[in-house]
Homo-oligomer: 502 residues x 2
Amino acid sequence: MFESAELGHRIDKKTYRAEVPTVREGLLDAQFDLRENGKFPVVILISGVDGAGKSETINVLYEWMDPRFLSTLAFSTPSDEEREHPYMWRFWRALPPKGRIGIFAGSWYSTPIAERIAGNLSKGDLDQRMDQINRFEAMLVNEGALVLKFWFHLSRDGQRQRLKALEKDPRTAWRVTKESWARLKTYGKLQEAAGHVLRMTNTPWAPWIVVEGTDDRYRSLTVGKVVLDALQKRLADTRDQNFPVAPPIAQKIDSLDVLTALDLTLKLEKRDYETQLAKWQGRLSELARHPEFRNHSLILAFEGSDAAGKGGSIRRVTAALDARQYQIVPVAAPTEEERAQPYMWRFWRHVPRNGRVAIFDRTWYGRVLVERVEGFCTEADWLRAYTEINDFEHELREDGAIIIKFWLQISDKEQLRRFKEREKIAFKRFKITEEDWRNRDKSAAYHAAVCDMVDRTSSGMAPWTLVEANDKSYARVKILRTICERLEQALGNEKTRNRRKD
Amino acid sequence: MFESAELGHRIDKKTYRAEVPTVREGLLDAQFDLRENGKFPVVILISGVDGAGKSETINVLYEWMDPRFLSTLAFSTPSDEEREHPYMWRFWRALPPKGRIGIFAGSWYSTPIAERIAGNLSKGDLDQRMDQINRFEAMLVNEGALVLKFWFHLSRDGQRQRLKALEKDPRTAWRVTKESWARLKTYGKLQEAAGHVLRMTNTPWAPWIVVEGTDDRYRSLTVGKVVLDALQKRLADTRDQNFPVAPPIAQKIDSLDVLTALDLTLKLEKRDYETQLAKWQGRLSELARHPEFRNHSLILAFEGSDAAGKGGSIRRVTAALDARQYQIVPVAAPTEEERAQPYMWRFWRHVPRNGRVAIFDRTWYGRVLVERVEGFCTEADWLRAYTEINDFEHELREDGAIIIKFWLQISDKEQLRRFKEREKIAFKRFKITEEDWRNRDKSAAYHAAVCDMVDRTSSGMAPWTLVEANDKSYARVKILRTICERLEQALGNEKTRNRRKD
């Protein structure tokens, strides 16, 4: 990987002065074009050997481009808040919106490489992380992002010389610390780990660019030209940037499916309901104060057809919780800011920290339900969403989150009854719109979408609970009972968790 | 994953009889179309719970389709020969050519799942395998293949009933063995392992199809309809099925690169040459008889510009080996059979077993050299080839292969001298063609391709050795010495190997 970056590349002052103006002009033009027409985000990763010019490169990019549309995120030791979220959370937060360039000083690669060098990560675990990173970058590319991954390299001798030079110059001496010299000792380990990481993640859609870091002019000019070339090529490229997807296959050959198999006549008498409600709310209230709960977050996902009773059920849950502990996230059409980001971004931002509860009234499954049925996204988009959703939940789960997903099912007849009732009762009228009536016409398409969703995203770590919701009392108690049982299982049966941040 | 396949799906005799003729007719038509126009291979994996109807399904497909264009590969315990090759070797051998359907009874998933249930595979190692499988299937899809992965499911009760029914019927009783009942005991473990595997590998490009296996008619009709639907959709789909690739970026900003950095004046005097040649040939001859060598294979890859001296170097290597031990693989334009397969197929078939040596005179790097420069493949094809090549070498390496890659570099002037010499000398004249002269005109393009190749595929496990070859003596000795040193390192410094097959 590093052969070309150990040759002693140099650019003389004259060449540099002659070439820089063209590159700068080109970069400004491309940046303008990106903002006006490009409509895709640019993610630039700056990584590599210490002393190879990472921070200098960022400064050069700021100097040569319009800094108002650049953002740089430096990732060093994670904050308390970051530590209490899944590993990728802080990177999701920092993603640039469409039309912007985000520079990552330190990235999702930094921690795995550092842990591998420190001997805290087995080769197998490292490869697992690289697989997750490849999936994450594939998602970015599917969302239209241009991903440029720079690795600045120095030979062992080059690093030594570089540190000496920095130390000698009074303006840069402060940058050379004891740790810098210590890192020279782990040079071999870094090269081995980095070589492996770069090879595993040198994907066709997001390849690495290795740059020799010895000579300032060479490094700056290379980065400038590479960014410019990549931007221009991507701006001119109108091809579809999506991963291939197998078309959906009609597998339904009888009328039996997970929804028709539900017994919607299940119900609970009023007295039973009140006893049971009190019992499970009490239990939940206790569980939420369980000392072990502080190491977990709880994510409740509510989906269901219109008027299935999501809101009422959520209120029965929150009644048992402390308002400071939970957040209800009502998911409606995405805001402008959200539309400029990858689809999953608006859910990542609401991922709760440990000890907290997030209740989603409609969820990330919107992509494979309403967006699929209404054609708000392409077929390729919703087909790949199943994988992205599973990856998302997997990552939350690995971090200790407890994920409980409910689908509330009511019959067409019961839905009609509730719609009519809502129209009659003044304070419920706002709940029923023209759209709700239209959605009823598409019930077959929604039905198929729900079945596919359950088949493709109900996993051992985050199973779906299908709730027979024709009877509200029955539904609410089943939901509360499920939450309590899952919590008891998770809090009582604590396994070693896969914490990644420390 | 399995919810829909535990509902007790059944198809009555009447419906079955009414529907089957249409499905059969459709399948025959689609199969004809695939052969005549489709020009893509179809890979059908048949996997799942024992007793869920895997073999019955294969029989049904044979009954309903034209068996002349079907092939079924059953993979159980690997043969001796298979055991001495990398894990994926036997699957590569069995891939159907374009226009054909290959049914895999047991597949690349079987061993990892079985090992996981037996407790011989950690979760991390399992995930690593799944990542490799995802990359392999992505390659198949990039090569145009339609991949249909069936998983036949039974509920625990369903499996018990199925085994009882098979046992009761004298025609099928032989199929129920002690192992069948033993597997019922590991049902839970299988479900957990399979659920995880299916989730990890349920990719947008090669999703799983889970089918309930209880009822014969339901299962057969489902498989028939799914295969038909998938074939028809794929035959009608003219979209590009390739993964996105980042366009190549012009990174060259000075004249220094791994090739120009070579000192082509290096030479060896005749007397020195003879001493050194004898010394290293003797050493190599000993190393090839090293007892530890029986657990490794040796792969020598020779690339270089025309007239760089590959043939002569290879002869100096083979002079030190026993003819029964090595195989020279001259790589020319692919045969018709090879063109009907994924690009890497023709190299997989020559992968040596342990204790053997394969010497490739030109190699799998043809894709990123001649095919790239001459436009014999698309840009996307050669760009993704770097990853596929790295995956290939990684897999060989994991299995204990020692891979040594040589690029022989000569100057343009020296090449011209050799060309002219070849024209003059009668017995060398066959070695020089019009094409060789034409290639000289493209030397800049080849130069860039070689640099990219070294940058992207020189890894710790399989580094490139660049050979200064203006002086044939120097080149030959450097090659022999490199082989000996790498062998000594590998044979002396034996690490625990990652054997996968037993």
